[in-house]
Symmetry: C2
Subunit: 385 residues, 2 copies
Amino acid sequence: MIANITLNLPSVIEFGAGKIGTLPHHLQGFTRVFILVDKPVFTKIEPIAGELEKSGSTVLLSTEVVPEPPIDTLSGLLQTVKLFNPDAVVGVGGGSTMDLAKLLAVLCSGEQQIHEVIGINKLGSRKTRLILAATTSGTGSEVTPIAVLTDTREKLKKGVVSPHLVADVTIVDPELTLALPAPVTAATGMDAMTHCIEAYTNRFAHPVIDNIALQGIRLISENLETAVLAGDNLEARTAMALGSLYGGLCLGPVNTAAVHALAYPLGGEFNVPHGVANSVLLPFVMDFNLPACTEKYAQVARTMGVTIQGSPDSVAKEGIRNIKQLSQRCGIPSGLRQLNIHAGAIPSMAKSAMLVTRLLDNNPRKLELSDAQAIFTAAFNGSAG
Amino acid sequence: MIANITLNLPSVIEFGAGKIGTLPHHLQGFTRVFILVDKPVFTKIEPIAGELEKSGSTVLLSTEVVPEPPIDTLSGLLQTVKLFNPDAVVGVGGGSTMDLAKLLAVLCSGEQQIHEVIGINKLGSRKTRLILAATTSGTGSEVTPIAVLTDTREKLKKGVVSPHLVADVTIVDPELTLALPAPVTAATGMDAMTHCIEAYTNRFAHPVIDNIALQGIRLISENLETAVLAGDNLEARTAMALGSLYGGLCLGPVNTAAVHALAYPLGGEFNVPHGVANSVLLPFVMDFNLPACTEKYAQVARTMGVTIQGSPDSVAKEGIRNIKQLSQRCGIPSGLRQLNIHAGAIPSMAKSAMLVTRLLDNNPRKLELSDAQAIFTAAFNGSAG
């Protein structure tokens, strides 16, 4: 029997090349617009801001984004935004920018403080219109009810989860990703792949999301290498943007699992970008999970184009090898060693990861502290695939 | 290259058995609630209305639904609803009820008259919250930007199309469909199948919608017969509810084609219910379209479980045969003759159908007046499949 599911969705998803041009249409009737934008796409947004001003809106444009945003960054921005008092907040960028925009949109009306909203369903409401445009493919944040902050004191990533964080309008314009550097394309692309794989093999998997996840896996495996090696290939960029959107749609209803839990301390303690941390860990967590979801990993492999005949186990293993090879061809670091993480940090990272029970509970194979240590150790040395 | 697409979606889709119980949650903060409800599910909604009243809301409950609603029915209801002045409108029922609820929600604030909004994108805005719950599987209206009225003077169905008609919250609770009589289950189920097939083979097909459409075709072909023959089978009802939801999601971005265009005069002139008209016409339009979309019809066939080897043409034909047989097993009338339509009406019905250019333009094969006549003639006599 098909299980119950709740989907929280943007009212509008504008997908395709040039769709950032619909932004003024979706801001009609809003008079004070705060736009947080990633520096590399600033020149694409400036003329749109000009257009908004011409039609009578007051626009405040900011590029004050810090990657893997610390709580302090949000506090600082929040002061500015409260003073500006917008009726619409727009975030144009990667996950860090969109996550900040989400939290600014809910917190700028002043009813709740940052520390009150961390966790699941702590947000009371959102009164300010929220529009997100993704510039990486990607985080998926453009369609998720999740925003992640870095607690620099506790050296931990902390999540805010609430339907009020889902944007009113989401714009996925692959033209905004054309200038994304190869290493970021690779890491964010493998992050999107991780979203799809961890949702599809999730303990709380759902057929509605399985269907989306498999489409995402197919699109990303077919197009990531081209997007990395030929960044100006709009066809590959468009397919990656859709694959990433699909990955994002997996996150609200089903979410991720052990890869993301183990990636948290890499971000919190060593400032490794979220996409890189997930990309490096993905195949090692898959090696660990294999006995618990052999048939599903075989389906992932077939969706990636693996055509060998054989037992589900051998097909699944070929799929994991394919993922390792795809990562290598895209220039993803093959192990934690290359990320300047020292082996001595593994015990504390493992301990830290075990705290992310919200995601570990989703993992198809139960994971103990010793397992986390073993996965980090395997990932430390990397592997020839 | 993946083409651009705009998706207009409900902010929340609640899917699954018992989900109608989330209605009070989604009406929190709303004080005057108008609920239009189909008589057969009235007893399911009455206690929920009581719950709302207990928590301080004023509720007006109406069952004044006329199938294939004439414009006059809407006018009458609109007077009542304007007087009541609701801040939320809820529609619980089949397509007729949900379409009326949609139009009441946009028109009750009084800025626009009915005749001003017929057509595409004529609606200015919607100020009233709109929640829809589907009780057939189905129309798909629970997620579409479309409402259809019957113009009894011109004997024509007329469509209102606008993103403002997409509900804020959609509830798809298969328990509400358990009491649906077999003939309605059959006709609305084949209607949902038609939505998926006409979207998948549409001239403006899109990969995002293809994926949804194929899942819908699979679910409906696997579960419709059980839902018809064993109406209390919640598993089959749940699968049908999801298939129908998928069919509805196809309609906004891609929409239907010649089956629906040809069905319009059957409704407008002979009051044949929308689902019945589509079900009867589907295989005959597929016979006509076959040369223009052989490979896609073959994929439809494979998705329905056709496993024969052979040319795409032979696989596609086997698929069309399967659809005819499924219709027969579900008790769908095999021809127009059984619907009390006389052969003499064919020329005027064909002429009338040719006016529905909005849908005919989507058809994979160009259709002339003589083709429409030929399809109606074939459908008049029915076929052994």
